[in-house]
Symmetry: C2
Subunit: 360 residues, 2 copies
DNA sequence: CTGTTAGCGCCTTCAG
DNA sequence: CTGAAGGCGCTAACAG
C-alpha cells in the first residue's frame, strides 16, 4: 500500500504535484505528469479515498435511497444509476428503506448521510419534513426519480398519461366496461405515482364518455399477489368488466393469473393492459405501456453529476437535453401484445394488429 | 457540523473520552459517558466517517459484488444483506459487475476496493485469478454466496440436491419422459450453480432408472425470455417430454409461456417444476424447489460481521449455528402447486395432493 | 478512568 | 508550473 509520498519520491517531485497530476486538475507540465503517472503505475498506487475525502470534503459517493430493492423498477433503476456513476469514478452507497411492512419504511438519518455521500438520488420516496430539513442542513444535492422532492430536479414519466394510453387502447377496441386494479391504501406512503395513474384512468374514462363503476376499481398493494387476492371477487360478479387497466405489469400478472383460475380466457373474455414493460411481460405476452427505467436512471445520474462537477475543473455530463425547469418527463409508449382484443360485438373502426411481432 | 472537540468542550472532557464514550469501547465512567452523550445529542453531533476511517483504517463499509442486480435472486440477497449490516452500523457499497452481455462482466479493480471497504460479499461471482490476488493483497475478508471463493466462507444451497428433489417429485408422479431447461452456454462465467443443478438432474434421472434424452436438455441463458426462445422447438417434436425440470423459476415461467402458446396445457399435457420460489411463482401456481435467499443473505452478513468484529471489543453476531468447515448449506424444500400432475396412465402409488393451499 | 499527542494520507492555499 | 506546510476530524497508544 504505497502512499502519495512514495510516488512523489519515485517521480522526483513533490506530493502536491502528484496530487495534481493524478487528478488531472490545474496545469502540470506534460513531461512531469507522465513521470508521475508512470511512477504511480509502477507502485500500484491507488489514492486513499478516505484521506482524499477528509482533505477535500468530497467523497465521490452517491447515496441511492429506495423504498425497496426487490421490485423490478427499483432494481433496474439502481443498476442503471450505478453504471453511469461508475463511468465518472463515483460510487454507490445503497440505502434501502424497506421495513417489515410495505406500508411503512425506515427513516433517513443523519448517520446514513452526514459526510458520507456527496449527493442523493431518491427512487419514488416522498421525503418527510424532517428528512427534507436534514438534506437541507447538509446542503446535499438531490435528484428525484418518480416521486418529486420539492426544490430538486425530477425525472419521471407522465403517470396519468400512461394510464390514459391504456384506456385509449381499450376504448379503441370497443371496450366500455373497464376496471382498474392498483389503487393504493390511503395510508401508503409512496402514493403519488399510484395516484397519478388512477387519476389518469378516471379522466380518460370520462373523456371517452365511459361509466366508471367504483366497484371495478380495486385497491391493493403494489404486488402480483396482492392484486390477485384483491381482484378475486371481481371475477365472481355477474357484471364483471370486460377489460382491466392494471397500475403496473406486476399487478397485471396477478390479475391474469386469478382470471385464468376463475376460468376467464385472456383476451377472449378479458383484456388486460399493464404499465411498465416488466421483464416477464414480453414472454407472458402482456400488452403494456412501456416506461424506460434505464433511461430514467441514467438521466438522474447525469443530472446529479452535472450539478456536482460543473463547479469544478473536472468534465461532467451535460444535463439531459429535454429537461425543462428541472423536470425531465420520459415518454411512455404502448406495446400491443396478446392480452388485449376487441370487445365482443363491438364495432371497431380500425381493427388493431393483434399478432405478436416475431420474437426478438 | 460540529466536531468532536465541540462535544468535548461542551461536556468538559477531552476528545479521547468523547471518542471512547461514543463508540462504547473501553471503560468510561457512567456519569461522564452520560454527559458526553447528552452533549453530542445537543449538538447533533455525528462523527465524520471519513476521519474515523482514516485514523482507524476501518471504513464500516462492505462491498457487495454482484454480476447483476435486476434478477430476483440478486436483488433479494442484496436487500437482506443491507438490512443485516445496517443493524451493526455497517454500510453497503454496491458493486454491480454487469456488462453489456450476460456472458461477460466487468472486472473488480483495486480502485473499487482499496481503502474503501472492510470486507466483501460475493453473489455467485467466480473470482478470476487477478481478482483473487487483489483481495489477497488487500487482505480483505470475503464471504461467498453461491459460487465459492477459494479459502473463504461459503453460504449456498445444495444445487444438485434441489434438482434431485424436482426429479423425485416428477418421478413419483409417474413421469418417465423428463426434460431439463437451463443448461448454460460453455462460455458463461458463472457456471457452477447451473452445472450443479444439471448434474443433480442427471444423477437423479439415472437413479430412478430413467432414460436421459439429450435432445430434451435445453441450453439457454438464465432468463424467461431465453428459456422460452430456446425451448420452442421442444414442443414441436413428436416425442416431447411430459415433464420439465427448469433450472430456475424464471426459466420455468418462460417454458410455461411457450408451452401455452404451443397449445400444451399445464399440467395436463406438461408438468413443470422450477427452483427458487420466485416472487411470482405463488401467483402463477408454479411447483418449485424453494430456496431461502433472505436467510442466505443474512447468514453471509452475519458471518462477515463475525469475522470483522470478533477481534474487537464490539459485540458482533455469532456464526450461523449450522456452519461447518466454513460452509453453510441452507436447506431447500419442494412446494407443490398446480403445474405438476400425475403422468397420464401412470400408476401412482401415493397420489399427491394437487389442491392449492388456501391463499396465505 | 481520563488526558495528551502523534499521526492516518491527502488536498489546498500560499509562495516562489 | 512546482514546492512547502497547515490542516481535514478522528483514533490509538501512552502517560498519568
Amino acid at each position: 500500500m504505497s502512499t502519495i509520498s512514495d510516488v512523489a519520491r519515485a517521480a522526483g517531485v513533490s506530493v502536491a504535484t502528484v496530487s495534481r497530476a493524478l487528478r488531472g486538475v490545474s496545469t502540470v507540465n506534460a513531461a512531469t505528469r507522465a513521470r508521475v503517472l508512470r511512477a504511480a503505475d509502477d507502485l500500484d498506487y491507488v489514492a486513499s479515498p478516505t484521506a482524499a475525502s477528509l482533505a477535500s470534503g468530497r467523497t465521490r459517493v452517491i447515496g441511492i435511497v429506495t423504498p425497496f430493492l426487490t421490485r423490478w423498477f427499483f432494481a433496474t433503476a439502481v443498476s442503471a444509476i450505478e453504471k453511469t456513476l461508475r463511468e465518472y469514478g463515483y460510487h454507490v452507497l445503497l440505502i434501502d428503506l424497506e421495513a417489515d411492512s410495505h406500508l411503512e419504511r425506515r427513516a433517513l438519518t443523519s448517520q446514513m448521510l452526514s459526510k458520507r455521500v456527496d449527493g442523493l438520488i431518491t427512487l419514488n420516496v416522498p421525503l418527510r419534513p424532517g428528512e427534507l430539513a436534514l438534506i437541507e442542513k447538509l446542503t446535499l444535492p438531490v435528484v428525484a426519480i418518480g416521486n418529486p422532492v420539492p426544490g430538486h430536479p425530477l425525472i419521471h414519466i407522465d403517470d396519468a398519461g400512461a394510464a390514459r394510453q391504456a384506456v385509449d387502447h381499450l376504448a379503441g377496441l370497443g371496450h366500455t366496461k373497464i376496471g382498474y386494479v392498483g389503487a393504493v391504501p390511503a395510508n401508503a406512503e409512496h402514493r403519488l405515482v399510484p395516484w397519478g395513474r388512477l387519476t389518469g384512468f378516471r379522466d380518460a374514462m370520462r373523456e371517452h364518455g365511459l361509466v366508471l363503476n367504483s366497484e371495478w376499481v380495486i385497491t391493493c398493494d403494489w404486488t402480483a399477489q396482492g392484486a390477485a387476492k384483491q381482484s378475486t371477487a371481481l371475477f365472481l360478479r355477474d357484471d364483471a368488466p370486460t377489460a382491466i387497466v392494471a397500475a403496473s405489469d406486476e399487478i397485471a400478472i396477478g390479475v391474469m393469473a386469478i382470471a385464468a383460475q376463475s376460468d376467464y380466457r385472456v383476451p377472449q373474455d378479458l383484456s388486460i393492459v399493464g404499465v411498465d414493460n416488466y421483464v416477464l411481460s414480453d414472454v407472458l405476452k402482456l400488452t403494456t405501456v412501456r416506461q424506460d427505467v434505464i433511461a430514467q436512471g441514467r438521466a438522474a445520474a447525469d443530472t446529479l453529476l452535472h450539478i456536482l462537477l460543473s463547479p469544478t475543473e473536472e468534465p461532467g455530463p451535460d444535463l439531459p437535453a429535454d429537461m425543462v425547469d428541472n423536470v425531465l418527463t420520459v415518454p411512455t409508449e404502448l406495446i400491443t401484445r396478446r392480452t388485449t382484443s376487441p370487445a365482443r360485438g363491438a364495432f371497431v373502426e380500425a381493427p388493431p394488429l393483434l399478432t405478436t411481432p416475431a420474437d426478438r
